[in-house]
């Protein structure tokens, strides 16, 4: 039988160490909504989402109360809209109408984000894909809850450089379209390589076409719990360090598995995966940077950071995998800058640079995330940064992503404020040498060879 020590350990994790389930994400396939008439398509989309997700928020709240575990977000991911809208949309403005429908449906069911305003163009773009991508700046400016993503490359297909070039322009245009709010639109736009079909985390969540009609995916969190556990093994060897991370990750993930199973049973919707991620928030004591500093770095960004992060990421997976029946999504440590107080402090202290963050993305999920850069940064430079990050994903057979925010009207030394879970970020300097000639080449980078691993 459960003893008092175990009960108080669990409750301490929840009350003092910010243990929570970060998100229950309901994936909804919109493939059966496809129609050549835009009005009819919008009606079907609205009806399907509001019917299936009707009880999502209340079910989440009931589970929170009954088990005493906070569930921070309840969200929805959908089939990439470029596919769903291909038959109905003739112009980018038509796609914006779908974005408005998604926003209205999300408001109706009470979720804070709906992800899947996406195009998967890792090899090439259809006319609908291109229209959707061109509609993103407007779609993100006129909606509150819609999140967008573009998959521009994969290990199997290589990198679609035409899409990379366009993505740089779109990131810049989105920043311009939302410049009154520190270019907030860019916080809802992710450019991916090897995007997973079952990611529950925003802004990059969408429901792939290989998925079921509806599915429950859960994202766990708990950087604070890992940090506290590591305080007890200060000065000990790597073996103890790694064992502690594994055990803690196991416990955290078990909670996610429990919540996923309950949500699935209560809503009558199959369980998909648990995403074992360490997802920070701007709260003190809920930071991945603080874990790395607990491992032994004076500040994140110091030499040793990449190795410490590699260790952390791998142990989280090793501990979490056994705790869940199905693991998927992004699964790893997130290193967003604006959403992690320790990262922000490291940037302000001059320890963490864009180049070091890029190196860190080689060994963890997901990529250059929530990084504010000067508003004057050119579209081609943004495309260059995207291309670099995509190359890391392509060659290392992992998911990488870019969520950069060129904050219009601000420069290095200023701070961008996004509010809530998105936090705030100091503007980071970007290498000012150009890459226009490289980015302007047409076509794609071929897929890498899968042998001769060096």
């Amino acid at each position: 039988m459960i003893n008092m020590y175990e009960v108080s350990e669990t409750n301490k994790m929840i009350e003092q160490e910010n243990l929570d389930v970060r998100t229950i994400t309901l994936g909804i396939s919109l493939l059966d909504c496809i129609d050549s008439d835009l009005k009819e398509l919008n009606r079907k989309i609205y009806n399907k989402i509001t019917t299936l997700a009707k009880n999502l928020v209340s079910t989440g709240q009931d589970i929170e109360t009954e088990f005493g575990i906070p569930i921070v977000n309840k969200r929805i991911s959908i089939t990439p809209v470029a596919i769903v809208g291909a038959a109905a949309c003739r112009t980018p403005e038509d796609f914006v109408e779908i974005a408005k429908t998604l926003d209205a449906a999300a408001l109706e069911v009470g979720v804070n984000f709906i992800g899947g305003y996406s195009a998967l163009v890792s090899k090439a773009m259809t006319p609908a894909d291109e229209m959707l991508i061109r509609s993103i700046p407007q779609a993100l400016a006129v909606t509150e809850r819609v999140c967008s993503s573009i998959n521009v490359g994969s290990t199997r297909t290589g990198i679609n450089m035409d899409a990379v070039r366009l993505s740089g322009e779109i990131v810049k245009a989105t920043a311009e379209a939302t410049k009154e709010r520190d270019s907030l639109g860019c916080a809802k736009l992710v450019v991916f390589c090897n995007a997973p079909d079952d990611n529950p985390f925003m802004a990059g969540a969408f429901l792939g076409v290989t998925e079921a009609d509806a599915v429950i995916n859960v994202g766990v969190s708990g950087p604070g719990v890992v940090k506290k556990a590591l305080e007890k093994v200060r000065g000990k060897g790597f073996e103890e360090l790694c064992e502690t991370i594994k055990k803690t990750a196991f416990k955290v993930t078990r909670v996610g598995q429990l919540v996923a199973g309950e949500a699935s049973r209560r809503m009558g919707i199959p369980f998909g995966i648990v995403d074992l991620s360490l997802a920070p928030t701007p709260d003190v004591g809920d930071s991945v940077a603080e874990i790395l500093e607990e491992i032994g770095l004076e500040r994140v960004g110091a030499p040793g950071t990449t190795a410490a992060l590699a260790l952390l990421n791998d142990q989280v997976k090793k501990g979490g995998v056994m705790a869940s029946s199905y693991v998927g999504g992004l699964s790893g440590a997130f290193i967003p800058v604006s959403e992690d107080q320790g990262m922000i402090d490291a940037v302000l202290a001059g320890s963490l640079t864009l180049e070091k963050l890029e190196a860190m993305t080689c060994v963890c999920s997901v990529g250059l995330d929530m990084i504010a850069i000067p508003g004057k940064t050119s579209a081609s430079t943004i495309s260059g940064i995207i291309a670099d990050e995509m190359a890391i994903g392509m060659v290392n057979q992992k998911t990488t992503a870019v969520r950069l925010i060129p904050v219009i009207g601000k420069d290095v030394g200023d701070t961008a404020e996004f509010g809530g879970l998105l936090g705030y970020a100091p503007i980071m300097p970007v290498n000012e040498f150009g890459c226009e000639t490289f980015v302007n080449r047409k076509g794609r980078i071929p897929a890498p060879i899968h042998s001769f691993k060096n």
Binding site: M1, I2, S8, T10, D62, E66, F67, R254, L258
Partner: protein, 90 residues
Amino acid sequence: MKKCIVTVLGKDKVGIIAKVCTYLAENGINILDISQTIVQGYFNMMMIVDVTDIKKDFVVICEEMKALGEEVGVNIRCQREDIFEKMHRL
């Protein structure tokens, strides 16, 4: 049997157990096990209870117990046992 864990934390005073037990009895909740300590004047109690025969919704029970805690001046949590089982048992 549907088991859940009731934890009570706070400054010790007269009648904490009495109030909690009265509420449980009134709502048809059977106590299976109690363990309790007082460290430096702080009251720390854990009960394993059976909620199979409750008449109210379990969510309501959780909320009422939380409110009872606020009334008495201690922190009362009522949680399904599964969260502890899952976390600490293979």
